[in-house]
């Protein structure tokens, strides 16, 4: 067997793998006819394969998969979140936008809890109540924040009351009267207002 060329054994394996070329197969067969040792080796290898092949299908125990899965460490929640974020970039962008928007607007709302009123020359302020005295005419708009407004005279403009009450007996208001109490209304009002100022800005610029 020692004198047999090395490549003969390679050919044997190629033959058993089923990818031997015709010439090599011829060479192998001729060699096997002339060499007893090699013939025996070939025989043994074939028997080995037959032996292994006669094994019935080796199957894992039925609960193997479940057991392995149970023993796996749980994937971190953060990974799931990251995957979700990566999969829905639009939602994330929208959510972030909404978050910041509402945060700033609500922040404004919270900040503005103190009482304030538009300065007009003939308004009377008593604690948190603003009074337009009888016989007086206020020219311009009035905005009252966190306070009440009592109109006894005349207002030549719009009246806006935020978080307060509007009381009038025989008032004359030439503009619109608005009362804003809830957070959402405040939101709506501030959005409307910012748009309105932007518009007037543009109008002024075009003028």
């Amino acid at each position: 067997m020692n004198i047999c060329p090395e490549h003969i054994i390679d050919y044997m394996h190629d033959y058993l793998d089923g990818d031997i070329s015709r010439e090599h197969e011829q060479e192998l067969k001729q060699h096997l006819h002339s060499c007893g040792d090699c013939k025996q080796l070939m025989q043994e290898l074939s028997e080995t394969i037959a032996f292994v092949k006669s094994a019935s299908h080796i199957t894992a125990p039925p609960d193997f998969e479940a057991a392995v899965m149970a023993r796996l460490p749980k994937p971190k929640n953060r990974v799931g979140m990251q995957k979700w974020i990566r999969r829905h970039p639009f939602f994330v962008a929208a959510a972030v936008f909404c978050l910041f928007m509402s945060a700033t607007l609500l922040g404004n709302f919270m900040d503005d809890q103190h009482f304030s009123v538009t300065k007009q020359p003939n308004l009377v302020v008593e604690g948190q109540t603003v009074i337009v005295p009888e016989g007086e005419v206020v020219k311009g708009d009035i905005v009252v924040k966190n306070g009440d407004l009592i109109v006894e005279g005349e207002v030549d403009g719009n009246v806006t009351i935020i978080n307060g009450q509007y009381m009038a007996s025989s008032a004359v208001v030439s503009g619109k009267i608005e009362e804003i109490d809830e957070a959402f209304e405040w939101l709506w009002y501030s959005i409307k207002n910012s748009v309105k100022t932007a518009m007037t800005f543009e109008e002024k610029e075009t003028k």
């Binding site: 390679d10 394996h13 058993l16 793998d17 990818d19 080796l41 043994e44 290898l45 028997e47 080995t48 394969i49 032996f51 292994v52 092949k53 006669s54 094994a55 019935s56 299908h57 080796i58």
Partner: protein
């Protein structure tokens, strides 16, 4: 009456022999080094092609062949020793 009809099943001793052979094969395969065992099992028990094995194990085709050759050789030697 039915109890006297010849059954087609294997005889008990044949079944035992079969089981012993199975055990022997499992034992011999189990004795192989890991890297040879995986390719031998995939090739001869799962009956996959060399190409499929190379894809599954993510190894070059040449490596798969070499390991099968050596695994076969190792298995032959194991069987000869007994």
């Amino acid at each position: 009456m039915y109890s006297q009809i010849a059954a087609d099943d294997q005889l008990p001793e044949e079944q035992l022999e079969q089981m012993e052979l199975q055990d022997r094969i499992q034992y011999e395969i189990g004795r192989l080094p890991d890297k040879y065992r995986s390719v031998i099992v995939l090739k001869y028990i799962e009956e996959l092609s060399l190409q499929e094995i190379s894809e599954i194990l993510d190894m070059p085709l040449g490596t798969v062949k070499t390991r099968i050759h050596r695994g076969r050789e190792a298995l032959r030697k194991q069987l000869n020793n007994l």
